[in-house]
């Protein structure tokens, strides 16, 4: 474990360091006489989505609960944050308190959804979280008195008094938050809490027989994941100066988060950081760039198709099942009992 501990920390440091350097290209490229790629904004998105995906990773990668509605918690965080800071509402409690409040409200919402649905197995939980995502979107749309419906709550005051032209500083402020999140999650990973989650993921019944209460562990995972998603939502809203409309927190965002988790290697925080950089690099930098270039070349319609909805999802998920010996002879365990890393049945020694 010690070795793993050290290597993870190193991987995380490298990933965070690389991320910290990216926006400097904004300064370097114009200095070299090239057009700026506006990477600071994209990097800020990387931070926002990395936090979202770290939250999802707790639920899906560590605890093995398939959540397809993580964006709903991002929405809850964004709206909670907006309601608490908007100048037309009487709260205006400031950035930090609102961020913490958003996290708490997110955790509460996670527990609210988690509590009645803990017993559901993989696919059933997937549809419930998917449905919950829809419910949240629709409710935000419908309860106009509080959420302003599709108008969105905006504009929100800029955090740290930063205006939009100081994108780089803004990014570093966000990066600092990400570092704290990574630190805390690493603590969880190597603690009793993390071990409980892993045990529940690997074999719920065995974990139960060890005296772990899977319901409580799952509830905590749900709450922690949702809290992080809510933090991500709050940062998203703050960066945008708006909650945007409820549809901004749709299924696609949940899937984007899922892709981030999977691309980098499910279950690993380093993987999430890398995944966020890869996925958002594609969606926010490469695709628009390619689209621009194609359009410049006079094949606008092609460009249009190229950047048409959801292209990033064409990426096949290079899911790395760590348990790499897919025994062709499945054991007697219910096949859907295992979700994430350990997709193979427990103790799947090849038949002899």
């Amino acid at each position: 474990m010690a070795a793993r501990f050290a290597s993870f920390a190193r991987g995380q440091l490298i990933a965070l360091g690389a991320l910290a350097l990216v926006p400097l290209l904004d300064l370097a490229l114009p200095a070299a006489g090239m057009e700026s790629l506006q990477l600071a904004g994209a990097s800020r998105s990387v931070v926002v989505f990395a936090i979202l995906a770290i939250g999802l990773n707790i639920v899906i990668g560590w605890t093995g609960l398939l959540n397809l509605g993580i964006a709903a918690f991002q929405a809850i965080g964004a709206y909670a944050f907006a309601i608490l800071t908007w100048e037309n509402y009487p709260f205006q409690i400031g950035f930090w308190p609102a961020l913490v409040a958003a996290a708490l409200i997110g955790a509460l919402a996670g527990a609210l959804l988690g509590a009645p649905t803990l017993r559901l197995r993989g696919d059933y939980l997937a549809i419930v979280t998917l449905g919950f995502g829809e419910i949240v979107q629709e409710t935000l749309k419908n309860v106009e008195v509080v959420t302003q419906g599709t108008k969105g709550i905006n504009p929100l005051p800029a955090p740290f008094g930063l205006t939009s032209d100081r994108a780089i500083l803004w990014f570093y402020a966000y990066l600092a938050i990400l570092v704290v999140v990574v630190y805390l999650c690493r603590n969880l990973e190597f603690s009793r809490m993390g071990r409980q989650w892993f045990a529940v993921r690997e074999d719920e019944l065995a974990a139960r027989c060890m005296g772990i209460e899977p319901d409580k562990a799952k509830l905590k995972a749900f709450a922690a994941g949702s809290a992080l998603a809510a933090v991500s939502g709050a940062l998203y809203a703050a960066a945008l100066g708006s909650t945007a409309e409820p549809a901004s927190y749709g299924f696609e965002i949940s899937i984007l988060a899922l892709c981030i988790v999977i691309v980098g290697g499910i279950g690993s925080i380093t993987g999430v950081l890398v995944g966020a950089m890869v996925m958002l690099g594609i969606t926010d930098v490469l695709l628009p760039l390619a689209s621009d270039k194609l359009q410049d070349a006079g094949i606008g319609s092609t460009a249009n198709v190229f950047s048409s909805p959801n292209n990033y999802k064409y990426l096949p998920a290079p899911g790395r099942p760590r348990c790499s010996t897919p025994s062709p002879v499945s054991t007697s365990r219910p096949r859907d009992a295992c979700w994430s890393r350990a997709m193979c049945p427990a103790g799947s020694s090849p038949p002899a």
Binding site: S324, T325, P326, S327, P328, V329, T331, S332, S349, P350, P351, A352
Partner: protein
């Protein structure tokens, strides 16, 4: 009883899962009318040998012949579903009955590849005669049977495909001694009727007592092969597998 041409011939097969190689050059043969047992510790590769023969696990090297036809070699094999009509049938480890089908439906699944209603009906009678408990439970769901009954069902199901060679994987596992005796008795009975049987067993003593010949498999290699009664008295076998 034994003919010159072996019914099943396994020649130097190599197989494994992922990066793990489980079988290294395993060879064995089963002649018409014999009971041959394959004994060895857990992880020795007994089940894998059967799964290779049934076409479920692909070979990495070597070849397998059945009734004068090559049914598998490295890189290609006859599909599992074609082996059953040829008469090569396995009773898998852990029974693997269909839990949400009735006992009768389970038995009929054994006759999936057959198309002779009269013969099927006759074989059904035979199975019921062999294991009368199955008849009384014929409309019960397979999943509600006890372990021993499920084992009988699995054997009955295999017989329904009218096999030439029946491969049985650990029929005694997790079953009370009394039922184990019943099952072994049935195996003996089937053999007496002319069925060739390849038996994989943990319970080496019981298996060897039934068999004509035996093979000892250790970590993916055949280390001993001889007539069963000789193996029963072989000191190496006695020490390692009979616990004397």
């Amino acid at each position: 009883m034994s003919s010159a041409q072996p019914l099943l011939e396994v020649k130097g097969i190599v197989a494994g899962y992922g990066s793990v190689e489980v079988l290294h050059q395993v060879s064995l043969e089963v002649r018409e009318g014999e009971i041959v047992s394959l004994i060895g510790g857990n992880g020795a590769g007994k089940s894998t040998t059967l799964m290779c023969t049934s076409g479920v696990v692909p070979l990495r090297a070597g070849e397998i012949w059945f009734a004068g036809k090559r049914i598998a070699q490295a890189g290609s094999g006859v599909r599992a579903d074609l082996l059953v009509p040829m008469g090569l049938v396995q009773v898998p480890e852990g029974r693997r009955i269909f839990p949400r089908m009735t006992v009768l439906e389970n038995l009929m699944m054994g006759a999936y590849t057959r198309n002779d209603p009269a013969g099927i009906a006759k074989d059904l009678e035979h199975v019921y005669q062999l294991f009368d408990i199955l008849k009384t439970r014929s409309s019960q769901l397979g999943g509600t049977l006890s372990g021993g009954e499920q084992q009988m069902l699995a054997i009955g199901r295999a017989i329904m495909s009218r096999p030439r060679l029946l491969m049985m994987d650990e029929p005694s596992m997790g079953i009370a001694p009394l039922l184990v005796a019943r099952i072994f008795e049935a195996v003996r009975e089937l053999n007496r009727e002319g069925l060739t049987i390849l038996l994989v067993e943990q319970n080496a003593r019981a298996a060897l007592k039934l068999s004509k010949r035996g093979y000892v498999l250790e970590t993916g290699r055949v280390t001993l092969s001889d007539d069963a009664d000789k193996l029963l008295v072989d000191p190496r076998v006695r020490e390692a597998y009979l616990g004397d």
